[in-house]
Subunit: 620 residues, 2 copies
């Protein structure tokens, strides 16, 4: 990979494939004014190529547009910052390191295929078909076997079609030693045995098709949760479920969509729908309730009681999903109303419950769930952080899709912003990472004080009093995709402070409840897409993450999906998942006597107690 | 009860309520000419009342019609037999004694109702509904509990409706220690717990509604099996099932009819359909297959393999029967293709497998099944007797309904018949008991020889050559309900001889297979309606039953229904039923090396070996 040396900063860095100079600059915390998001229309991001071979668009003869500029070999780039150069702006961006946890799992899937060569009946041995089958199963050690009606009805035909050589699909429900026959096929079909792992997210559905014979992922797909059209977050879905037929509708929609996605999966892998023998799902408590058509309203009403946390196995026919009728659906167990199967599966995937290191696991999606612990204990809580970090409750917030501002830098001298959008499109709004990035930049430049209020004394065209009070104009309407100014209001900031305060107070309460504190944390695991896009420095700067050595932070990716997959690979993993759920002590934060104190103290940027954030130096 | 003394025979007998003098005479074997079946139209049954008080119709001043005559107090009746009197006609009719086997069964039904007062959730204990329930069940000793989807979905509402006081209906499937929750009701509903016992007959459906709290029968109903319109016997039903949608149609029809009958039952008992918590069925192998929609054709095809003999439990929803969705249906296990659950349930009801007495159990319905054994062993077989004893394959045979000739006597001197019909209606045809009675009478009067051929040398208007060879006219068309002569052909007799020969050879093979013979039999149990109507003397005379002391014969009634009922009363009885089925060794008669010899030897009246029927004296 080519390298770039930025002057006058004397900072050198590798350039990853597809990165432009503006991407690298943003990564390094080098400010270059830019308001078009990287699209190439604002003509502000002028840089000088001092040496090296480049591709890109020229401007005003001597400059290149940084947002189009790609080095072919090593280059030296000078940023024309002139006298305004301020070293303080150079805050190196820092993603958490990826932690690919490869666990060696001996394959022992919950679904077994068993090939049997039965003896054909004769007049001397005209044992009935079912008893002939059961006898052979007994010889293989299966004593208690159940057969569903449809399969019993089909048994005589399959047996004779396969000349009494058949392959059974067996499922151990895990309740007893007994097994259920979930499919019977003529001949030897052992090589076809697929499972589907599903992350049942409030916003996104993620699916993987797994070959249960090899453990390999054959295909992956994802889509929005179709319930989004009935409500963005779990609360609004619960409300929608109160309507007549509301619950049924929510449930049917997501089941239908998942079936379509499963069809896509098998098509992509060139396999057949009939080869799917098991589905493993992990979702939060509300999503799992809605999927199963279990009444969710009591989750919201005092005293917040789920219908179930250890969900029984459901079969495809019981869910009206047109897979083979007896395909079992396994659900990751919940711990509480707002600590669900996505978290238990996440903890399973993270392996934190098998290791001695004190770990803080954070899943900041539509809700914020946290777990603190290690092999000896697990404490968990749901933080009422709300969807602010997904753009919810933020005036120009939006989901992380094309046109969303994902990264922001503000020049500390002239307060002009540099933005990068997803897909390098005209900006439509701010997604989570952009919001955090912006808030951190506002702090660093001193545009806001520690309570999150804009400096009233500063005269700057981007700082103004809007309809909802003071705001900073990030993108003027001429540069935006919406034809409107994209602004960031004090209301937005207040919402963010509340959200990050709730998270931070949560970490503290969980740690305190076991007599520990933040500095004892040996690792911080960031789960979900949020974890992979967030900038560590920014998140710590605003007080969303604790101020710990950066090498203790890891992002784990979609741990919910990873956990759901592990359940498919091994019955021991499913048992471990249940042990984890059992082990997780839930702390009801809203109910905790000291929660309010911690929360109030966290309603500062980064925090009332500055000593908790020693590495964060901000203007004030 | 008044008594009647018949002169000149000097035979005295009690008169049962509703009996007329002709009924008593028939019972005693005293012949009175009568061809109207008891309707009072033929004016032939003239008797003289010598003393006593009577009600009835006079005829020719000094006579009464015997068919209308009822004694009010003791009477003396003279039969005007004059010189034609022949003592040999006096064959006292003899029903087998009823054996009401009252077994004390400590109530332990397969369905239990359990009342639970759960604690209401609080913010300190917001355990989910399902786990709250399971915890309470664990305290009661139920460790492995399954809950069906519908009940889980309804759980939060029921719990709150009943203020967390609920009644569970629990079913132990018998496969493991686990139980299934089959219903959940708000409040204490323990007093409502009903079961339905069903005899799933080829011809008739018999149902009883049982209160599982007391074991009492609350209602009884019966109807023809609606499958009759698709075929009279099991073979023709199997053939019908081969047609497109044939099996589904047969299955649906009987399930629909049974549901209607269950509605009748609860209505009669003033109970609710929702109180039914379990259904126990006993039927032959073909009927059970058809009910469950299991392919029956292999039962008929060499090597005669049922789909199953130990049928899994099916739930109402799996059978599309609109009871509560999770009501379990329990099926008495079969032993072989033609020894079904009606027989295993029958043996259970008879208690023969718990006693030391060597017993022959005979169920002569549409098929003929026999069991020989006691507490130490059980041998069973299906005799291909066909439906002759139900009127099938007999020219004027019919089922035992109104107008069927159920009893016949023939005057040994003038060969004139005396007949009694069911309901005292004009004769339509002959039912089973009438057929046996007629054949025995023909033997006693010497109208047929021991090969079942009419005496060619005898000139009598009732003996004639018809379209199908020689025949005896039992009812002239003027007296019949059909406007046609009712005749009994040599073909009919041949069919009957084959049928009774098949039965008799069956008894002998089963006994021989355990080194015993007919004379070792300590008891003969007659099951089914046939057993209750058959005349012992007649049945022994024709060689259908072995010639044993008459006090060894018992009729047991509908043992299939009784067995189905016992299963409802106690799980131990269900276990005993399975032990019985396991213990029953099936002998394939058609395959037995000595069967043909025994069968050929039995194609005589009563038998080739006269010494087997020492008490039977017939003219020849």
């Amino acid at each position: 990979m080519p390298r770039v040396l930025f002057l006058p900063f004397q900072v050198e860095e590798e350039v990853f494939p597809d990165e432009t100079i503006i991407d690298v600059a943003m990564r390094l915390g080098i400010h270059i004014n830019a308001s078009c998001g990287g699209l190439g229309t604002c003509n502000k991001c002028k840089v000088i190529v001092e040496s090296g071979e480049v591709k890109g668009e020229r401007i005003e003869e001597i400059y290149y547009k940084a947002c189009t500029l790609k080095p072919i070999a090593d280059v030296v780039i000078r940023i024309p910052v002139e006298s305004r150069y301020d070293r303080r702006a150079l805050i190196r961006k820092n993603r958490a390191q990826a932690l690919e946890r490869v666990e060696k799992i001996p394959l022992n899937p919950p679904i077994k295929k068993l090939y049997l060569e039965l003896t054909s009946p004769t007049i001397e041995d005209n044992t009935p078909d079912l008893e002939r089958l059961f006898f052979a199963l007994k010889e293989k050690g299966y004593e208690e076997v159940r057969i569903p009606p449809e399969l019993l009805r089909g048994l005589p035909y399959i047996l004779r079609k396969g000349d009494f050589k058949i392959t059974l699909t067996l499922f151990n429900e895990g309740l007893s030693k007994g097994v259920i026959i979930t499919d019977i096929e003529a001949g030897d079909t052992r090589e076809n045995n697929l499972g589907v792992a599903i992350d049942l997210g409030t916003t996104t559905l993620q699916l993987e098709l797994i070959d249960l014979n090899s453990g390999r992922v054959l295909a992956h797909t994802s889509d929005y949760n179709p319930q989004l059209s009935f409500g963005e977050d779990v609360i609004s879905r619960i409300e929608f479920a109160r309507k007549k037929e509301g619950l049924r509708l929510l449930s049917e929609r997501v089941r239908e969509r998942l079936f379509i996605l499963m069809e896509e999966l098998v098509k992509e892998a060139d396999r057949k729908l009939e080869e799917i023998n098991v589905v493993s799902l992990a979702g939060n408590t509300v999503m799992t309730h809605l999927f199963l058509e279990l009444e969710p309203k009591f989750l919201r009403e005092h005293p917040y009681v789920p219908v179930a946390k250890n969900y029984p196995v459901f079969f495809a026919k019981e869910l009206s999903i047109p897979l083979k009728e007896n395909v079992p659906f396994l659900f990751a167990p919940s711990v509480a109303s707002y600590v669900g199967g996505d978290i238990t599966a996440g903890v399973l995937a993270s392996m934190m419950a098998k290791e001695p290191y004190l770990t803080l696991f954070i899943d900041l999606g539509t809700n914020g769930e946290i777990v603190v612990g290690n092999q000896d204990f697990l404490m968990c809580a749901a933080c009422s952080a709300g969807p602010a970090f997904e753009g919810g409750g933020i005036k120009h917030g939006m989901r992380a899709t094309s046109g969303a501002i994902e990264s922001v830098s503000i020049d500390p001298l002239d307060y002009e912003p540099m933005i990068i959008t997803i897909g390098k499109k005209r900006a439509k709004g701010l997604c989570g990472s952009g919001i955090i990035s912006l808030l951190a930049s506002l702090m660093r430049t001193g545009l806001i004080d520690r309570m999150g209020k804009y400096r009233r004394d500063l005269k700057h065209p981007r700082l103004r009093r809007g309809e909802e009070g003071y705001e900073y104009v990030l993108v003027y309407k001429d540069d935006s995709a919406t034809g409107q100014d994209i602004v960031f209001t004090e209301n937005d900031i207040e919402n963010l402070i509340r959200a990050k305060g709730a998270m931070f107070a949560g970490y503290q309460i969980l740690l305190e409840s076991v007599g520990l504190s933040l500095s004892d944390l040996e690792r911080v695991f960031l789960a979900g897409t949020f974890g992979s896009f967030i900038d560590l420095e920014d998140a710590i700067t605003i007080g969303l993450l604790p101020d710990l050595p950066r090498d203790r932070f890891y992002f784990l990716g979609n741990t919910s999906l990873q956990g759901a997959k592990k359940v498919l690979l091994s019955v021991e993993k499913r048992e471990e998942l249940y042990r984890i759920a059992q082990m997780m002590t839930h702390v009801e934060l809203s109910n905790h006597p000291r929660y309010m104190d911690y929360y109030m103290a966290a309603l500062f940027l980064p925090h009332t107690q500055e000593e908790l954030f020693p590495s964060i130096k901000i203007r004030s």
